[in-house]
C-alpha cells in the first residue's frame, strides 16, 4: 500500500511538472506563434484586436495557473 502511495505521489508530481511546462513555457510559445499567424488570417483590424486581447487574457490566466500548480507541487512534496 505504501509503495502504491509512493508510486501515486511520483505519478502525480510528474503530471504536475508536465502541466507546469505547458502552462509556464508552452502556452506563451503557442500564443506567440498564433499572434504572428493573424497576419495571414484575413480578419479585419478590430477582429484581430479582439483575438489579441483574448490571447493575452489566456496567457495571464496561464501565469495564475503556474502559481497554483507550484503550490500544489510543494504540498505533494511535503507528503510522506
Amino acid at each position: 500500500m505504501k509503495k502504491l502511495m509512493k508510486n501515486n505521489k511520483e505519478y502525480i508530481l510528474d503530471k504536475i511538472s508536465e502541466a507546469l511546462v505547458k502552462e509556464e513555457l508552452a502556452i506563451p510559445l503557442y500564443t506567440s506563434h498564433i499572434e504572428q499567424t493573424l497576419f495571414w488570417s484575413g480578419f479585419d483590424e478590430d477582429k484581430k484586436k479582439q483575438i489579441l486581447i483574448s490571447l493575452n487574457l489566456l496567457t495571464k490566466e496561464s501565469r495564475a495557473h503556474v502559481g497554483g500548480l507550484k503550490k500544489i507541487m510543494a504540498i505533494y512534496k511535503k507528503l510522506k
Partner: protein
C-alpha cells in the same frame, strides 16, 4: 458548389483552352519559319523555356479544377481509444542548432497531448555541442541519441535509430518546428483509419516573417506550395513526404529499407518508393506546427539549392526505374512527381526568358516574330487568365496580391542558384548535407552578386540599344524594351533583400 467555386472552374477551363491554343500556335509558328543556325538555336531555347512555364501552368490549372470539383473526402478519422493509444516515437533530428531554438521545440514536444509517446533527440552535432544538448534533452524528458560515427545527413541518423523504434508510428519534427498539442491525436486518428495509409503530411507555417523581407518572402513562397499545390497532390495520392511535420507507419519505412541516404531530399526519394508499394499518403492541410523561415539571402539560397539539387537528383535516378516498370506508380502519381521535379528547372526557364528580349535588342536574335494580333489573341488571354486563377485562389485563402508578388520575387531571384543546383544534380555531383541556418545574421558579399549584376547590366545595355533601334519596329522593339525594364526592376530586389535582418520587435522564441 458555391458561385465563387463555379466561377473559378469556368475560368480554369477557359485558361486551359487558351493555354493549348497559345502553345499550339507558338510551336506552329516556330516550325513554319526558317532561320539560320544561331537564330534557330535561340528560338528553340526560348520555346523550351516557354514550354516549361506552360507545363507548370497546366499542372496548376488542372489542380485547381480537381480541387474545386466535389470529391470524396479522404480525411476520414478513426475514433481513438484514449486509454489504449497506438504508440508513437517522436524524433527530432538536429545538427549544431542554437540551444534557444532546440529548447522551444523540446517544450512543444513534451507538451504534445499523447500518453503513448516516446521522444528522442537525434543529435548529429559536432562534439562541442553534445554535452549541452544532452542536458537540455534530459530536462524535457527526451532521450538523447548520438550515433557512434558522425552521420553525414538526416537520413543516415534516422536510419541508425530505426532498428530501435518499435512503436507503430513515428513522426519527425525538424529542430526549429514547434508542434501544437493536438498534432499526434489528429494525425494518428487519420492514419488509424486504414492500414494502407503510409503517412500523413501536414503543412509548415513560418511565423518569423516579421524579421525581414527574406523570411516573409520565404514564408509566402512556402504557403503557395502548401496550399493549392500540395492539396492537389493529396487529391491524386501523390503527396510526398516533406521531411518534417509528418507521421508515418514505422513498418512502411522499414519495408522500403529506411530513408534514402544518397539523397539530400531523402523524404522525396523515399516517398516514391512508398507510393510504388501501393500505399496511400494523405495531405492534411491544417497547420499544426509552426516553424522558422530562413532569414537571410545566404540561408534562403542554401535551402533552395538543397531542395532543387535533391529533387532533380532523385528524378534522374528514378526515371529509368519507373520507365522500366520496376517502380509501379499510377499515371497521376508519375505526373505529379514529374511536375515537382521539373519545377526546379524554373531557374533555366527564367534565365532564358530574361536574356532573350535583351539578345533581340542587342543582336536581333532570336528574330522570330509574331504579329501583335497573335499576341493579343493568344498570349494575353493565356497569361492573364492563369494569373487571375492564381491570384483568385490565393486571395480566397487570405493572401494579398502584394504578398504573392513578394513570393514571386523570391522565386525569380533564385534563378542562378537553381541553375547551378540542377547542373550539379544532373552531373551527379555529391552534395554535402547542410541544414538551413536559423537566427544567423549574414549577407552575401558584393562580389557574389555578380550573376544578378551581370544580367541587370546586360538588360540596361539592351534598353539603350533598343532606344537607338526604336524606329526600326516600334512594336517589337518597344515590347522587348518593356520586358528588359521589368526584369531590371525584378532583379534589382537582390540589393534590397541582401541585408542583415533587423532584430525582431517581438521575438517569437523569447518566451522566458
Amino acid at each position: 458548389m458555391t458561385k465563387r467555386k463555379r466561377l473559378i472552374i469556368i475560368i480554369s477551363w477557359v485558361a486551359l483552352i487558351s493555354l493549348f491554343f497559345y502553345f499550339g500556335l507558338r510551336v506552329y509558328i516556330y516550325y513554319s519559319q526558317s532561320y539560320g543556325f544561331v537564330n534557330s538555336l535561340f528560338g528553340a531555347l526560348l520555346l523550351l523555356a516557354e514550354s516549361h512555364a506552360v507545363l507548370q501552368s497546366l499542372g496548376f490549372i488542372s489542380n485547381i479544377i480537381r480541387l474545386n470539383k466535389p470529391r470524396v473526402n479522404y480525411h476520414r478519422k478513426a475514433k481513438l481509444d484514449l486509454k489504449n493509444l497506438p504508440s508513437v516515437t517522436v524524433l527530432v533530428p538536429g545538427r549544431n542548432e542554437p540551444l534557444k531554438i532546440l529548447e522551444a521545440t523540446f517544450i512543444c514536444i513534451k507538451s504534445l497531448n499523447y500518453a503513448a509517446k516516446r521522444m528522442i533527440f537525434l543529435d548529429g552535432s559536432d562534439p562541442q555541442f553534445i554535452a549541452e544538448n544532452q542536458k537540455l534533452a534530459q530536462k524535457y524528458g527526451l532521450e538523447h541519441f548520438v550515433p557512434e560515427h558522425p552521420s553525414k545527413n538526416k537520413a543516415e541518423i534516422i536510419n541508425k535509430i530505426l532498428p530501435n523504434i518499435e512503436s507503430k508510428y513515428y513522426c519527425i519534427f525538424d529542430a526549429d518546428q514547434n508542434p501544437m498539442p493536438d498534432f499526434l491525436l489528429e494525425t494518428v486518428a487519420l492514419a488509424e483509419y486504414s492500414n494502407n495509409i503510409a503517412f500523413i503530411q501536414t503543412p509548415q507555417l513560418y511565423t518569423n516573417f516579421n524579421v525581414g523581407p527574406i523570411a516573409k518572402g520565404a514564408a509566402l513562397q512556402q504557403s503557395i506550395f502548401f496550399e493549392n499545390i500540395c492539396e492537389g497532390k493529396g487529391a491524386s495520392n501523390a503527396m510526398f513526404c516533406c521531411g518534417t511535420n509528418f507521421l508515418m507507419q514505422t513498418e512502411v519505412l522499414k519495408k522500403v529499407g529506411g530513408f534514402d541516404e544518397n539523397s539530400v531530399t531523402e523524404d522525396f526519394a523515399t516517398s516514391v518508393k512508398i507510393h510504388a508499394l501501393g500505399y496511400r499518403s494523405i495531405y492534411y492541410n491544417h497547420v499544426r506546427v509552426f516553424g522558422m523561415a530562413p532569414e537571410t539571402l545566404p540561408a534562403y539560397f542554401k535551402q533552395q539549392y538543397r531542395w532543387s539539387a535533391g529533387t532533380v537528383g532523385v528524378v534522374r535516378k528514378l526515371t529509368s526505374e519507373v520507365y522500366s516498370g520496376r517502380l509501379k506508380l499510377s499515371f497521376m502519381q508519375v505526373w505529379e512527381y514529374f511536375l515537382s521535379a521539373t519545377y526546379y528547372f524554373t531557374g533555366w526557364s527564367f534565365f532564358l526568358l530574361i536574356i532573350c528580349p535583351a539578345l533581340y535588342l542587342l543582336f536581333n536574335i532570336p528574330s522570330y516574330f509574331a504579329s501583335p494580333l497573335f499576341y493579343l489573341l493568344t498570349f494575353v488571354p493565356y497569361y492573364f487568365l492563369t494569373l487571375t486563377i492564381f491570384y483568385a485562389t490565393m486571395k480566397g485563402r487570405n493572401y494579398s496580391a502584394k504578398d504573392i508578388f513578394i513570393g514571386n520575387i523570391m522565386s525569380s531571384l533564385s534563378f542562378p542558384i537553381l541553375m547551378q543546383s540542377t547542373i550539379s544534380a544532373i552531373l551527379n555531383k555529391k552534395i554535402a548535407f547542410q541544414i538551413t541556418d536559423k537566427g544567423k545574421s549574414d549577407i552575401m558579399p558584393f562580389w557574389r552578386l555578380w550573376p544578378w549584376i551581370l544580367i541587370i547590366l546586360f538588360n540596361l545595355a539592351a534598353i539603350i540599344k533598343g532606344a537607338y533601334r526604336y524606329d526600326e519596329n516600334h512594336y517589337a522593339i518597344g515590347i522587348n524594351m518593356f520586358w528588359c525594364a521589368y526584369h531590371i526592376l525584378l532583379l534589382s530586389n537582390i540589393f534590397r533583400l541582401n541585408k542583415i535582418p533587423k532584430p525582431n520587435e517581438k521575438e517569437i522564441l523569447n518566451y522566458t
